[in-house]
């Protein structure tokens, strides 16, 4: 019975996080990537320089901890399936999926074990530059491991890192202005 009770919020978290991840992915690859290709036609790498899904990964792991692994998994898998189809089941892509969902939660868990005070807490003021710092660390480890799995050229490491960091920052900025606009609208009504 207790297991069933705890399963419901997990399903809700999974739905919310998966929708956020897939939306961020769609915006990145259907809108931002064509813009990037038009602005930087000589940029050889296929990596996005504004990868919003990294922001969803980092914020989910910050808010949900290890639960984010389960919450992110369906969306990350769906996105790989969308891009690679049946090739999703190759060892390198399965390794990349594992890296994408596990590393953010692992990073925040390690930070908590090292007594870095960045976990969300009712008794503390959140530190957004710390979340950005964690986003950079998660991106460095993730891009190293992902590129190792894919055997990508060295310039892709840098491109992934830039895309992840800008993606996290712009997603937070987008959320900040959205919340601000909603607050101002609620105040006016």
């Amino acid at each position: 019975m207790g297991y069933q009770l705890s399963l419901r919020p997990l399903l809700r978290d999974t739905l919310v996080v998966s929708l956020a991840y897939i939306s961020a992915f769609c915006v990145t690859f259907e809108f931002l990537m064509p813009l990037q290709n038009a602005l930087f036609p000589d940029f050889a790498s296929r990596a996005s320089l504004l990868f919003l899904p990294h922001g969803v990964r980092v914020l989910s792991a910050w808010l949900l901890g290890w639960r984010s692994v389960i919450a992110l998994l369906p969306a990350v898998f769906a996105v790989f399936w969308w891009v690679a189809g049946d090739a999703t089941f190759t060892p390198s892509r399965l390794a990349a999926i594992a890296v994408a969902v596990i590393i953010p939660a692992l990073a925040f868990d390690l930070a908590a074990r090292l007594r870095l005070n960045i976990a969300p807490s009712a008794r503390a003021t959140p530190c957004w530059p710390c979340i950005m710092g964690m986003g950079v660390a998660i991106s460095v480890v993730s891009s190293l491991l992902t590129n190792l799995a894919f055997g990508s050229p060295p310039q892709d490491y840098i491109a992934y890192l830039i895309g992840d960091v800008f993606g996290l920052f712009f997603l937070m900025l987008l959320l900040m202005f959205t919340f601000r606009a909603l607050r101002q609208r609620a105040r006016q009504s």
């Binding site: 919020p9 809700r12 978290d13 914020l59 808010l63 949900l64 969300p120 009712a122 008794r123 003021t125 959140p126 530190c127 957004w128 530059p129 979340i131 937070m172 900025l173 959320l175 900040m176 919340f179 601000r180 909603l182 607050r183 609208r185 609620a186 105040r187």
Partner: protein, 96 residues
């Protein structure tokens, strides 16, 4: 952590970002009162000013400063009075 408090934590993080960028219209005491209110808020349950005063974030805030901040937060739309109004009880205005 409940769904409401997760949303509250995300809002707190983004308010901090707004504050750093100089876009926020709250003083540091107002921010702490608002954070304490979001922490204590539960769906359909008002937050009592007495509970707010004893919150860890507000332990060093004097009574007059606390009540000035509370009044200001209501004026700025971050907190609303209960309906029907009950003295010392407020709701946190969540974006709709």
């Amino acid at each position: 952590m409940s769904e409401i408090s997760r949303l509250a934590e995300l809002r707190k993080l983004l308010l901090e970002m707004e504050h750093t960028m100089g876009l926020q219209d709250l003083s540091s005491v107002e921010r702490d009162v608002f954070y304490a209110a979001t922490d204590l808020a539960a769906p359909a349950t008002p937050v009592k000013s007495t509970s707010l005063q004893s919150h860890a974030l507000l332990s060093s805030v004097s009574r007059p400063t606390f009540f000035r901040a509370l009044k200001s937060l209501v004026g700025k739309g971050y907190l609303t009075h209960c309906h029907p109004p009950v003295r010392g009880q407020y709701h946190v205005s969540h974006p709709k």
